[in-house]
Symmetry: C2
Subunit: 301 residues, 2 copies
């Protein structure tokens, strides 16, 4: 089997996402979390989404022969980190977004203090979940993956990218290179790292880890370009928020710098490079990962 | 040597704090952090303070024969967590404090978005630092300590305690038990865990870990009672913020519930129980930890 139909791919993606969903739905229970805080954390964590990051982590680990159940706490931790970042990004002091996935954003559904704490809580519980992976996998792999994840999510990665995004907003002299650096940190780092941690936890060798790292970095970059394009040409229903909100906020985007067509080409080039990295791997998980890469750009073609 | 003079104790405390300070002053460098974010993180992290939590962690580990340098990244990580919690607690949506240690609070010196991100960044870098302890110590001890720390700092610990504090503020029917639970989570968990992680990283056995855990929980509880008393009877210079700000914000405090004298007695009782836990240990580090416990209540006598 060397190709996978779109229908088949979507069915696998759905099954994988459902298993993540099931784990997420109870992973914060029995942890002595005050009720209002737990409600707020789960409001955002269980608000849907494709669960792309954990699914990537699970598929990569499986490609190296490690069972998905073994990696599940770690993979779910990545979704907790993603969810916290959305809560904090939506805050009035940041992007001031009232809607997220078509529902009131966390600080609108609860209040600002609770939203800040729900974000802090999800970020911290993510590290509890990561350590719980050590029940199934060697402690040194778990520590290496955790270090990689904290670095990618932190101030030299995702958090730093959000800071750059704030700094760049409203500036009209941002270069393409600056935009790429910002997105590589803000969105790219976590997607790259989801793949990379799958490889580390899967026991991949150094060369294979590097291949997966490059695959992840490329699809992460493509993902953001596509997101920028969708913000311009998507429907409010697809986006879960008003169309064109990036531009309205004075944000620099790929389409505003390069135009839609050039942006699409850039994304396709990145996906091609990503797929190339997987040439040495076979089996259904490798096929799924190759198809997933192409699926990212197909959303806007 | 079975006692330590106040002068001697303060001199040891100062030396230990200085070694933590030195480590903190460079631990965020060379991590690719955008300049404004780094400035904001260091503004709060390097704003002084007694460095009580890392010093506790180092002294406990040393009592079990592990060198302070080996535990330093982990101990410093605790200060990063403490620092992040102060930044987020001061935000307008939370306690809305303009001053911290006599200087403008982080969101006043920078802006709200940067302060939120500086907190997020410090919390995440803390986990990077913790994993770096594994260069000197066994991976499984580091993972156990990291799990304990994340649980204590998270939504079932410190973050959850802040949520309860918000929920209780302005309510006039909060019971003493509720107040104690809130403080055990908000302030107590991190102080207890600083001691506990010192024991775990020091390779202490289960019984000794339990003794240290109880020591830490008791001094943590005493510390908060003393803080509440100081908020009423201290000077603005000692506090670094206006006297009586807790009461003004409608917060429930030990003195408001029990009166100053009963609060003092409660704190002294907790310190006595803490000191008792250390009876089986000897050496200069045990003596330091015993003296430190008493020092906490001596601040208000």
């Amino acid at each position: 089997m060397t190709t996978m139909s779109v229908q088949e791919f979507k069915s696998v993606l759905k099954t994988e996402a459902a298993s993540v969903e099931e784990y997420l739905s109870t992973c914060l229970h029995n942890r002595n979390i005050p009720q209002r805080l737990l409600d707020s954390m789960e409001y955002s964590l269980l608000a849907g989404g494709k669960r792309l990051r954990p699914v990537l982590c699970l598929a990569v680990a499986a490609m190296f022969g490690v069972k998905k159940e073994q990696v599940m706490p770690f993979a779910s931790a990545i979704e907790c980190i993603h969810s916290y970042s959305l809560i904090h990004d939506d805050l009035p002091a940041m992007d001031d977004d009232d809607l997220r996935r078509g529902k009131p954003s966390n600080h609108k559904a609860f209040d600002e203090a609770t939203a800040i704490l729900a974000g802090d809580g999800l970020l911290t519980e993510a590290f509890v979940l990561m350590t719980e992976t050590a029940e199934n996998l060697p402690a040194d792999s778990v520590l290496t993956a955790l270090n990689t994840m904290a670095s990618a999510a932190g101030s030299g990665g995702m958090v730093g990218g959000q800071q750059l995004d704030m700094d760049f907003t409203g500036r009209n002299d941002v270069s393409l290179e600056e935009l790429q650096t910002m997105h590589a940190m803000k969105t790219g780092a976590l997607i790259r790292c989801s793949c990379e941690c799958g490889a580390i936890l899967g026991g991949a060798g150094t060369e294979d880890q590097e291949r997966i790292r490059t695959y992840g970095a490329n699809i992460g970059a493509a993902f953001q370009i596509v997101d920028d394009i969708l913000d311009e040409i998507g429907t409010e229903e697809e986006l879960g928020k008003p169309v064109g909100s990036d531009l309205e906020q004075g944000k620099n985007t790929y389409p505003s710098m390069l135009g839609i067509e050039k942006s699409r080409e850039l994304a396709q080039g990145l996906v091609n490079s990503a797929v190339k990295q997987l040439a040495v791997f076979d089996g259904s998980d490798a096929l799924f990962l190759r198809t997933l890469a192409q699926y990212i750009v197909d959303r806007v073609s």
